[in-house]
Assembly symmetry: C2
Homo-oligomer: 336 residues x 2
């Protein structure tokens, strides 16, 4: 394809936005002009792209008719404010904030449900799911043919980078204070994060579920096209800078064929199956990589209908920025 | 009770052994003479007890007829070598190594199955389960009356202290090296432990399960007296010094009455239920405490037969040493 496109990235100075710009360059995405946008606070900064520093401008003053495609990589409020303007200008959009309803912008993980894109009307609006739902979908989708999936139980141990640079700095600061035996006054987190596990990320609703957990359940069901799939999700903040990890237990209606599971994972795009007996870690394997690592593939101790897995992925890259760019790569085929 | 007992602790210089001696003192256990024993390497050290330093002697040279009760707080090999001698000398024993079969030394968690002790013949032999099984049993036993438990799915995030002092030192060393941007050469662990999660603790068997996971399943079934209970266990090494955490999903045959669950946990001995909306952490709550903390009590997002919990306990104390002492407190009533 020799066609190239004018692109905007909203939230270009955030961890996901910056990675997204980097991935557009790495994958040689057909960018003609790149417009980097952010709130007035971050406008004026610059982000490197193809050897130049691109100046970040205020999203509020941007004319969306200048571009054919926009990525929303800021928070839900920013998407809700500016998505209507982008769409009114005829611009395709990919939202990473989770702000848009499924009817308006379906959740898409190319490895799992790219066929959804064929049904879209212009101007295209697509959601790129939360990092947790994206990672799980990449691994569970190729298993659809080899097991009759009834129930997913997942404990997600999330990296602090999902909460932005301030969270990364705070984990480092707390750790240094503790190693130097200085008194700890937690700032960003509501308590000690270093050498600790926080069993709740965000405020729970009256039933005890957090927004992240509800997004995981809703988005995974949507991407898997299994609206009745039983999913139990617990999202935990781990003292890890980058890379999310997932302890996953699946239940099928029938005995699981482990050889078929392994073969399906071996063949699956976006999946790297580690050797039996080994296991992947966020720091050692996932960070900076374009695939979801899978290990510890096993049946229940004495329940052949149970399948246990351990997954790890780069939450900023594979979980967010890369998935959005992969969606864009498919979208632009019909954008001309 | 004015009767007091001569006691031996094998493995007195380990993290669990030392804590056990401390708890005997704290709880005013009726100790007449205390004999601290260890391998020849650790013999000669001393451990404080009631304001004095008690010298640690070689277990190999000990005459078990000198004591009425012995705690085995070293590894399985030590128990297998010396338990027969202790029993031959008519001495009651409590083993924390998991080495003895259920028929010889049943697993006992006083909050869950103390009635098992009534059926024992002298000389008494009891096992104190792994920290994971103990913690889970303390919380699941009081729920037996309020739900029809069919399946337990647990991801245990274990503190490094379970692997001894060397593991604690190594996590601190790795963390300091990384914060000082020095190259990391992992020593005790097979890879980077700081700011990382290791999804496998110990070597897995051909089916992919580790010994810790199999112990958890076997011991929890035994203590719960539910030999057919379905249990999926994943034991993960977290970059946490002290305190294990458990993400637990339970399935019942019928809709779960959350009010009854909360009431049962409120009333349960050995359990501290945190307020709804809050959650306990290993560092902030569990460490140094005699109870298992429970939080994030909730049903499934739309499955009323599912119950999710988050537990945390001091792995060395509540998970091991304290449980063994609690067993001893019951045993000595019949030891006279």
């Amino acid at each position: 394809m020799s066609q190239s496109f004018d692109i905007a990235v909203v939230g270009a100075t955030g961890t996901v936005g910056e990675t997204l710009v980097q991935i557009l360059e790495e994958r040689d995405f057909p960018v003609a002009n790149l417009h980097l946008l952010a709130s007035s606070e971050s406008a004026g900064h610059s982000v490197p792209f193809r050897g130049k520093n691109v100046r970040v401008r205020e999203v509020d003053e941007f004319d969306f008719s200048k571009v054919q495609l926009v990525f929303f990589a800021a928070g839900p409020a920013v998407t809700l404010s500016f998505a209507p303007r982008a769409t009114a200008a005829g611009c395709a959009l990919i939202d990473l904030s989770g702000a848009l309803p499924a009817e308006q912008a379906p959740q898409v993980v190319p490895e799992a449900n790219s066929s959804v894109l064929a049904g879209l009307k212009k101007p295209f609006q697509v959601s790129s799911p939360s990092a947790s739902a994206t990672t799980l979908a990449v691994v569970l989708a190729p298993l659809r043919d080899v097991l009759d999936l009834q129930r997913v139980t997942v404990t997600a141990s999330l990296a602090v980078s999902a909460q932005g640079r301030e969270a990364v700095t705070e984990l480092a600061r707390q750790t240094a204070e503790l190693l130097n035996v200085r008194p700890l006054e937690p700032r960003f987190f509501d308590r000690q994060m270093a050498f600790n596990l926080l069993a709740q990320v965000g405020t729970p609703d009256a039933q005890g579920h957090t927004l992240l957990e509800k997004r995981l359940v809703r988005e995974l069901r949507e991407v898997m096209a299994q609206p009745l799939l039983k999913i139990s999700a617990t999202c935990v903040q781990a003292p890890v800078f980058f890379g999310d990890s997932f302890s996953v237990t699946l239940q099928s209606t029938k005995a699981i064929d482990l050889a078929a599971v392994n073969a399906a994972l071996e063949a699956a795009p976006g999946v790297e199956l580690v050797e039996a007996g080994d296991y992947p870690t966020p720091v050692g394997d996932a960070v900076g990589q374009d695939v979801v690592y899978v290990g510890r593939v096993r049946s229940g101790v004495d329940d052949p209908t149970e399948l246990d897995l351990w997954l790890t992925s780069d939450n900023v890259r594979k979980g967010a920025a890369l998935n959005a760019v992969q969606v864009a790569e498919l979208l632009i085929k019909d954008l001309v």
